[in-house]
């Protein structure tokens, strides 16, 4: 079917609602979620506090590690339950889980394992870990805050 400008304009009133319906169903990523954002910000602070304790013995902080691990898992599960949220889930995945085919993954469990293995971390390593975790959480937070706020277009 050939559309010239006149026929395009003639058909637009009935074509437009169809196009708009299709387009509005075409979101590729979920909208901003205040709870997910606030949770990630809180976990960033808690994780940096815990990392700051890693110059002390692991045994004396094992309970804090276990508590934080549970809270990180809860945040991950919350984000995993949101539709069209693959990129945020992949960021959490990278932070929380070590994959057999990617030794760089699992930033948090690798930190815990090093702390366990050595008993404590050097001050220099703690500073480096803090800087890494800070930026890693900023990526999760930055992606969440960049998502479209409900009821806004731009």
């Amino acid at each position: 079917m050939h559309f010239n400008l006149y026929s395009y304009q003639k058909h637009l009133p009935w074509i437009a609602p169809i196009i708009l319906t299709v387009l509005s169903a075409c979101s590729t990523i979920t909208a901003y979620d205040q709870y997910a954002y606030a949770t990630a910000v809180g976990l960033k602070v808690d994780t940096l506090n815990l990392v700051g304790l890693a110059t002390e013995s692991y045994a004396s902080h094992a309970k804090e590690v276990a508590d934080l691990t549970v809270r990180l898992d809860k945040a991950y599960e919350y984000d995993r339950g949101r539709p069209l949220n693959q990129k945020s889930v992949q960021l959490w995945d990278y932070l929380l889980f070590t994959k057999s085919d990617d030794p760089d993954s699992g930033v948090f469990p690798r930190f815990v394992q090093t702390w366990k293995t050595q008993g404590h971390l050097s001050a220099g390593a703690v500073a480096l870990k803090k800087s890494t975790f800070s930026r890693d959480f900023d990526r999760i937070i930055g992606l969440e805050s960049g998502k479209i706020k409900p009821n806004s277009v731009n």
Binding site: K87, Q90, Q118, T132, L143, I148, V153
Partner: protein, 106 residues
Amino acid sequence: MAAIDTRDIERQVAQLAATLFAQFSQTAISDGKAFLAEVQGDLIEATEEHARGEITDLEFQEAKKDLRAEAKMEKLKQEGLAQVSLDKFTAGIIDIVTTAALAAIK
């Protein structure tokens, strides 16, 4: 009913695309520069501390893994933000077409 101004729709869509995608690429470039500077700084610090014996071999290996992990996480974040830009563009088109259609009905 008045005719829908399709030329105006096209102009607005083009303007929206130019604004949104220019904003996205500017942010991505500045994020990329910041990432490189931070990672480079940490890598130099880790290497020097390792050479001075201030961090262990295991800690040094871990630091390198962490920095490689950061590159992969940065890529994921940028991919997510690109999706957001695309969705904003789609929402913007809906807004433009709806406004034009409503104006034609008046």
